[in-house]
């Protein structure tokens, strides 16, 4: 009982310390490691705030997948660790070499902005009413008609389905943007930087079925408890990335059409629902037929899980494999810069 406040204080201190170290660090590798631990502490904070859905998503996306993407990017940005030790270039500002390094003035302006914002937020938060007056009551009131028993899933897949549909569009756009800059049509035949390690491949062979089981379990859990398409999709993505790292079949071995259809499945499933309900004479746009709600939600969630998994895995694979590809492109870019 009395341990909770102490834990909270420790958690807040840890969050502040990690973010301070993270910002003050000039070594990008250390900063990436600190970012992952920041994500883990943050998901603990979400647990303490009684938001287990967000905690799951934060742990999976914020700490897991983002960490992998950061390391992959780091490999491209700092191709040779040895060269940076010569001190030829300052480490902290090489991401955007065309821009100048931030000077003292930038730091002062940024601190003024951040301090002002923090002050404003503190005043605002302390002025908030003590009793939460959100839509939680309304949500639980209509829960029985939504087709599911978990309020978060009811909001995401029924009451505010339009938002979820658009969010799947955002995920799709992220992948399309990366494909556009790489000038690829998909992750087909992208090979891992290192040849697969036999131990890893043996381990992944054993792990993959359990991870797939976890995906299905998380998906099913969303019906009545924290879980659902986004969390399940991230686990699926992690499975696919591991399979790829181990040199086993993954998104890179999928035929283009199968890959493409699983990519757009979630977005287009909701598009089809929208189309049908808009075309049908007596239907309300984006509304489930009452008796079909549960089945349709489960179906939409399942295809959304596949889409999220494949999109995130393709993104990660493209970025992780970026080193080999980027070396060629990097050389061309350096030439371009010399010309400028």
């Amino acid at each position: 009982m009395s341990l909770a406040p102490i834990f909270d204080i420790l958690l807040i201190t840890a969050l502040l310390l990690v973010s301070w170290r993270l910002l003050g660090n000039s070594d990008l590798f250390q900063a990436a490691v600190l970012f992952i631990s920041f994500g883990l502490f943050l998901s603990l904070a979400w647990v303490r705030l009684q938001a287990p859905d967000i905690a799951l998503a934060e742990a999976a996306v914020g700490a897991g997948l983002t960490g992998a993407l950061l390391f992959a990017t780091l490999k491209i940005v700092e191709p040779k660790q040895g060269r940076s030790k010569n001190g030829a270039q300052p480490k902290s500002c090489r991401l955007d070499r065309a821009a100048e390094c931030p000077g003292r003035m930038h730091y002062i302006l940024a601190s003024i902005f951040v301090l002002g914002l923090a002050g404003l937020l503190l005043t605002a938060v302390f002025s908030l009413p003590d009793t939460a007056n959100g839509l939680a009551g309304l949500t639980s009131g209509f829960l029985a008609q939504s087709g599911v028993e978990h309020p978060v899933t009811a909001v995401l897949l029924n009451f505010r389905l339009y938002d979820t549909w658009l969010e799947l569009g955002v995920l799709l756009l992220a992948l399309l943007g990366v494909l556009g800059t790489r000038d690829r049509l998909g992750p087909q035949n992208v090979t891992a930087a290192q040849p697969p390690n036999p131990v890893l491949s043996w381990l992944v062979r054993g792990l993959a079925p359990f991870m797939l089981l976890a995906t299905v379990y998380l998906l099913w859990l969303g019906d009545h408890a924290p879980g659902g398409a986004f969390q399940a999709g991230v686990v699926l993505a992690a499975t696919l990335v591991l399979l790829w790292l181990a040199g086993l079949g993954s998104v890179v071995r999928m035929p283009r059409h199968a890959w493409l259809f699983s990519l757009v499945a979630g977005f287009s499933a909701m598009l089809v629902l929208a189309l049908c309900t808009t075309l049908a004479p007596d239907a309300v746009a984006l509304a489930y037929p009452q008796s079909w709600a549960k089945a349709l939600i489960l179906l939409l969630e399942s295809v959304a899980t596949i889409s999220i998994g494949v999109i995130l895995a393709s993104l990660t694979v493209l970025v992780l494999a970026g080193e080999g590809e980027a070396n060629g492109a990097g050389a061309a870019e350096t030439d371009g810069k010399n010309g400028m």
């Binding site: 005043t123 939460a132 505010r160 556009g180 757009v264 808009t278 309300v284 746009a285 984006l286």
Partner: protein
């Protein structure tokens, strides 16, 4: 009657088709869907004309629980602008991306991303929910960045990354405001929020954060840093879309947030704050007009000049906040106030329309020139007037509208804003409008002057430009001029179309 959701559905459906198809079919499908979206948008017009506004509750869940779609006259104008520019830019893109293998590869990625962007933009015009608006901002922001980096040059990648960071920062600020607003008011719908908005530190902070985020997205003066590099380094059709449409979407959202969600804080609902926040925005807008136009005059690369011109022209849009905030502080007569409030609204909407068309025409013409000459350096444009008369005419027509010379749509916009400024007794904004017009004339004549300089070596060959490209650019410039000739109809449509939206709400309030 057509369902409103079609304007979001159709572009998304088109994007999926373009993603799945390959080869020549992609551009054809894209154009087909563009025409269909234009048809649906025009089909919505009669409904708005008779009913003033339409509202649909998605999923059958009424507003506080579900998400509503809301369309009024203001939204219809933005929808139509997007559809007209979208169709013409699509036709141009079909020619632009067919010119060689490298562009072919770009075009394959262009169509799905652009149609997703279009769906997102249309979603913004229908939006009636602060969180839904955030998701739509992400859709438009991410797709705009995806389009910017299509050309894959170092300059465009650097500009795209900067654009991405600015856009992400802006959406996060907006989202922070949404979170605070939900904690304070417990709902998300525009209209419901506006009805019981009260002044408290939480709502004030939320207001500030949301407006700040949208200002960064709309590139108002101190936050314009990301715009010129991004808009000038993108491929020509993309530049046209970014300058004509994408920045307008966040401006539209700003109008909604300002006049529908926070009427109690912006001095619209009778209360008059000591320092109206609208005055501040107007001041920044006025500075943007002068600074952006001055920077445009100094540029020697055509696309960068046009991009800086966007920074300047966007400034005019923010004058409405200042013009309308003083009206209620001064407490002028209701009938007189309504008169020039309508003028300020008409001028602003007209400016959005004319700038959208003129800027798209300019960027498309610049793309034709770059294709013909291989560069967009103004010095290389010698004797272009003699060798590419259609393009020079397009540049001149679009320039005339930007300057605000009589027959064009730009003239109506600036004339209305001028009259609103004078009628409300705020003559200082009139000075800004006139000075901005003079500076605009300076950079338009700078472009034209280069095209008429006789060239020493006539032998420099020009690459042929597909007629589809020159003609679409010309069509946009001509449309801009024509909508000025028929100003009466458009003005007659607007106050009527704005019925029940902020305009009449203000006119009705004592």
């Amino acid at each position: 009657m057509t369902h409103m959701l079609w304007v979001v559905l159709l572009p998304f459906l088109g994007a999926l088709c373009c993603l799945i198809l390959r080869g020549r079919a992609v551009a054809g499908t894209g154009i087909l869907f563009s025409l269909a979206v234009l048809a649906v948008c025009t089909n919505l017009l009669p409904g708005i004309w008779t009913q003033g506004q339409i509202r649909v509750e998605l999923g059958g869940w009424a507003a506080p629980l579900g998400i509503g779609l809301h369309l009024d006259g203001l939204g219809t104008f933005f929808l139509l602008l997007t559809a007209i520019v979208g169709v013409l830019v699509g036709l141009y893109a079909a020619g632009f991306f067919a010119q060689d293998k490298k562009h072919n590869a770009m075009g394959r990625h262009f169509w799905p991303i652009w149609l997703l962007l279009w769906g997102g933009l249309n979603g913004v015009y229908l939006c009636s929910d602060v969180f839904n608006a955030y998701v739509l901002l992400e859709v438009t922001g991410l797709s705009a960045v995806g389009l910017t980096v299509l050309s894959k040059t170092t300059a465009s990648l650097v500009a795209g990354l900067r654009y991405l960071l600015a856009a992400m920062f802006a959406s996060l600020m907006y989202l922070l405001g949404v979170g605070l607003l939900y904690a304070a008011c417990g709902q998300l719908d525009f209209v419901l929020l506006g009805q019981d908005m009260t002044q408290s530190p939480a709502t004030l902070t939320a207001f500030g954060l949301m407006v700040f985020g949208l200002l960064v997205k709309t590139a108002l003066l101190p936050f314009h840093f990301w715009l010129p590099p991004a808009h000038s380094s993108a491929p020509a059709p993309v530049s046209a879309i970014l300058s004509a449409l994408v920045v307008k979407a966040s401006f539209f959202l700003l109008l909604r947030i300002w006049f529908t969600v926070f009427p109690a804080l912006t001095g619209q609902a009778g209360s008059s704050p000591v320092l109206p926040p609208g005055l501040f925005l107007g001041l920044l807008g006025g500075l943007a007009v002068l600074w952006g136009s001055l920077q445009a005059v100094r540029q020697i690369r055509l696309k960068l000049l046009i991009a800086y011109s966007t920074v300047g022209q966007l400034g005019y849009l923010f004058l409405i906040f200042a013009l309308l905030s003083v009206s209620h502080g001064a407490g002028g007569g209701p009938s007189g106030a309504t008169d020039w409030t309508a003028m300020a609204w008409t001028g602003t909407v007209f400016h959005v329309f004319s700038h959208g068309l003129a800027k798209a025409a300019l960027f498309l013409a610049a793309g034709c020139l770059a294709l013909a000459m291989g560069t967009d350096d103004l010095n290389a444009m010698r004797n272009i007037a003699g060798r590419m008369p259609v393009i020079t005419f397009t540049l001149a027509m679009a320039g005339v509208s930007l300057m605000g010379l009589p027959p064009s749509a730009g003239f109506v916009a600036k004339w209305m804003l001028l009259r609103a400024a004078l009628a409300s007794g705020q003559w200082w904004w009139a000075v800004v409008i006139i000075l901005g017009g003079l500076l605009t004339a300076a950079y338009v004549f700078k472009i034209l002057a280069y095209t008429f300089v006789p060239s020493q070596d006539e032998t420099v060959p020009l690459r042929p430009v597909p007629p589809a490209m020159t003609l679409t650019a010309l069509a946009l410039a001509l449309l801009c001029a024509v909508s000025g000739f028929r100003a009466e109809e458009v003005i007659a449509l607007l106050p009527h179309g704005l019925d029940g939206s902020p305009l009449s709400a203000q006119g009705g309030s004592p």
